[in-house]
């Protein structure tokens, strides 16, 4: 499923990122890469909030729908 669809409180694993090299590399630098574990703090409405490696990030809708995840 898309990260955007993951419910609040779930821990998910990134499977794939649909996007160009620049996008994938920038996401990788903050810890979002295939295999990475992400905790969903809050799902929409409003921004998607996730926690990766101790940092909380708010992701835009477009962004969160490009990240494919699976439940742990």
């Amino acid at each position: 499923m898309k990260l955007l669809e993951a419910p609040s409180g779930k821990r998910v694993r990134v499977v794939n990122i649909k996007g160009g090299l620049g996008l994938r590399n920038r996401l990788a630098a903050i810890g979002i890469y295939p295999g990475a574990e992400v905790t969903v703090v809050k799902s929409p409405p409003g921004p998607m909030i996730v926690e990766i490696a101790g940092t909380r990030l708010a992701l835009g809708k477009g962004m969160a729908s490009k990240i494919e995840v699976e439940e742990e």
């Binding site: 609040s8 409180g9 990122i17 996007g19 160009g20 090299l21 620049g22 996008l23 994938r24 590399n25 920038r26 990788a28 630098a29 903050i30 810890g31 890469y33 295939p34 295999g35 990475a36 703090v41 809050k42 409405p45 409003g46 921004p47 909030i49 990766i52 490696a53 101790g54 940092t55 909380r56 990030l57 708010a58 992701l59 835009g60 809708k61 477009g62 962004m63």
Partner: protein, 674 residues
């Protein structure tokens, strides 16, 4: 022994680099822009044991790739090597994530001094800095910029490393077998080429960047090194292999490896004291604050509070400053300097004092606004507000981070422009800066009030509200247009906002920051505004012997000369044109000038009722709203963007739009209003 050393400060965003710099160098910090780009450059200087230490704060970055402007700025500075030592600031509460950048520095061949900041915030665990020192073979200093602890030891360590008294060994980060094999294979193939061409980079770093498909390095490899195509085919083959084995593209795989190593190291040095609760209170607050249903009312409440505090608290101070500059000082000049020629007293009163006064009345507003803004920033609310508005603002090509500056613009455009400083994306920052002048600031209200009183009694609020709305709609439209014409920095910028943990503001940091910004404003804006106001004074007083801003003065002539441009807007007299020219100083001056010119300071309303028609009054208000930023805002845009290009662009766009819209308003309104 060296008499001076240069220290580059590298680290992730929000780790406290600037706080450390201020703690070390006091408030002697210099703020500017990196040459050619609008990423902020901060430099601080202090003396330690007779050695001048220069600190250079690099932009906050997560990694040393070349995808964002900040990353490119930081990386090219680090590659050039114009420094004696690199200090890598780490937020010790996020050790694992922060070590990622440290590993990248080590890959580059840089052996930084590690600074574990925020040691005072550790709650659930402690960090064994000696163990970290052994593992990475780098000097590690634990500090708290907030509590001013560990600073002496930090200076000492920096000095020792910079002068060669201490030579950090530094490890070479090694990764999985698959990655190491790839690095080795590629290194063998290009080593000879690199040595032949006398290439300055560290070979291993260069190879890793090639594997990461870093755009800059790949281009250099193609253009300067002229690496044969076979090398790039080799990289493709490696990627195929990695994809098959690890279900991951090559750049992501390398990032993963670095994260793994960083968190392995972090695990070895972290001693857990207390179990971290599964759901924290802050998670619940976040859900509340960023959910549109609850978050938007909260946001408006907070903004209302900021406004109330800023303008209520500053009003008495601003009035006092205004009285000093517009009455007390001028009357002192007149009574004590009356022996001087009249043009000198006029220069002092109408040029220098009026101009400086126009800046100084902003000072209390700015001071208190900065204070409230840094409190919001420091508590962690600002990032949440930006996240909340992001989706909406994206419709106009802006980001959530532009909301706060825009809202501040209703109070005063000057601090609004300065508030764009908190925005990470330079492109968004520039766009926001350019659209702010259309947000109707409080100085425009007196102009509206006078005209509405003369022509639109009983419809006051409707007319004024429409003007505010027109400003906002045009600002958003311009934002959407500009975002199409300004080239994005990367394929999707600003797509994430880091939400720092909630905490109580650190007062020392808040006050220090406010002081730095206020001082900067007085100095920079003061010089530009002084020059401009003396210039306008000269236009109003020359040739010698004319009435100030009278018919015979240069402005009078300019007013008459420009009148044909304003006639299509329904303006038939040169005096309102002069009022607009003076309005460039500050918008509220438009009213004062009309009063002076019609010799009716006390009853401007009556005077304009004879000169304007309802339609031309409407057009004049629209023109006043849109035509150009005041000089304090121009100075702010110049200061924040680092070049004259953007204030000039703003003036050009605004003058044109103002004329076109006022023209339309005049002609449409003429059909309906008698």
């Amino acid at each position: 022994m060296k008499r001076s050393i240069r220290v580059a400060i590298a680290g992730n965003p929000n780790v406290g680099k600037t706080a450390i710099m201020n703690a070390l160098a006091g408030t002697t910090e210099k703020v500017g822009n990196w040459p050619g780009v609008t990423v902020q450059k901060k430099v601080g200087k202090y003396n330690f044991r007779g050695v001048d230490v220069e600190l250079i704060d690099l932009p906050g970055i997560y990694s040393l790739t070349s995808y964002t402007l900040e990353e490119r700025v930081a990386r090219s500075f680090l590659l050039k090597g114009d420094y004696d030592v690199v200090m890598n600031v780490i937020d010790v509460t996020l050790l694992g994530r922060n070590l990622y950048l440290t590993l990248e520095l080590l890959e580059m061949g840089i052996k930084p001094v590690l600074v574990l900041n925020k040691a005072d915030e550790l709650e659930n665990f402690s960090v064994d800095s000696k163990a970290l020192e052994r593992i990475l073979k780098l000097p590690v200093v634990t500090v708290s910029a907030l509590k001013r602890k560990g600073l002496e030891e930090l200076s000492e360590t920096l000095l020792r490393v910079a002068t060669g008294g201490l030579k950090p060994e530094g490890i070479t980060p090694t990764y999985s077998e698959d990655l190491e094999n790839a690095i080795e294979l590629l290194s063998m193939k290009i080593e000879r080429l690199i040595t032949e061409k006398n290439f300055p980079y560290n070979l291993r770093w260069f190879v890793i960047k090639l594997l990461e498909k870093d755009p800059e390095v790949t281009e250099e490899a193609k253009e300067q090194l002229k690496l044969p195509q076979s090398i790039f085919r080799e990289i493709e083959k490696i990627e195929e292999f990695i994809k098959e084995r690890h279900r991951c593209d090559l750049p992501s795989y390398i990032a993963r490896e670095r994260f793994n190593l960083a968190s392995q190291i972090a695990r070895k040095v972290i001693k857990s004291i207390r179990e971290i609760p599964k759901e924290r209170i802050s998670d619940r607050i976040d859900r509340f604050v960023t959910n549109p249903f609850t978050g938007i009312p909260i946001f408006f409440g907070v903004m209302w509070l900021v406004f109330k505090l800023t303008f209520d608290l500053s009003a008495p101070l601003s009035n006092l400053i205004d009285i000093v500059f517009s009455r007390i000082l001028p009357s002192l000049v007149e009574s004590y300097l009356s022996s001087l020629p009249p043009f000198v007293t006029s220069l002092i009163n109408n040029g220098v004092l009026a101009g400086v006064g126009a800046v100084m009345v902003f000072l209390p507003v700015l001071g208190i606004l900065y204070l409230t803004m840094s409190i919001l920033e420091d508590t962690g609310y600002m990032a949440r507000a930006a996240a909340l508005w992001d989706n909406f603002m994206r419709l106009f090509g802006l980001s959530g981070a532009s909301v706060i500056p825009m809202i501040l613009g209703f109070g005063c455009n000057v601090p609004a422009v300065y508030a764009t400083r908190a925005m990470r994306s330079t492109r968004q920052k520039l766009i926001t800066m350019l659209i702010i002048p259309w947000i109707s600031c409080s100085a425009r209200l007196p102009v509206y009030a006078v005209f509405v009183a003369a022509f639109f009694r009983e419809k006051e609020s409707l007319v004024i509200f429409s003007l505010y709305l027109l400003g906002v709609l045009l600002a958003l439209t311009l934002g959407a247009l500009l975002s199409k014409s300004f080239k994005p920095e990367s394929e999707e910028e600003d797509f994430f906002i880091e939400l720092p943990p909630y905490k109580l503001p650190a007062w020392s940091v808040v006050f220090n920051q406010t002081w730095i910004e206020v001082r900067e404003f007085v100095y920079k804006a003061g010089t530009v505004i002084l020059a401009l106001s003396v210039f306008i004074w000269a236009l109003a007083s020359l040739p010698p012997g004319v009435d100030y801003a009278g018919e015979g003065s240069i402005v009078g002539h300019v007013g008459k000369w420009l009148l044909p441009i304003f006639e299509p807007l329904g303006i038939s007299d040169w005096k309102p044109v002069v009022a607009l020219i003076f309005g460039a100083l500050a918008k509220e001056v438009v009213v004062g000038t009309l009063g002076t010119l019609y010799g009716a300071e006390e009853n401007v309303i009556e005077a304009i009722a004879h000169i304007f028609t309802p339609a031309s009054a409407l057009a004049f208000m629209v023109f006043t709203l849109l035509y150009m930023p005041c000089i304090a805002t121009i100075a702010a845009i110049k200061h924040e963007s680092g070049t004259w290009k953007y204030p000039i662009l703003a003036i050009a766009i605004e003058l044109t739009t103002a004329w076109v819209i006022a023209f339309g308003v005049y002609h449409v309104a003429s059909l309906f209003l008698k």
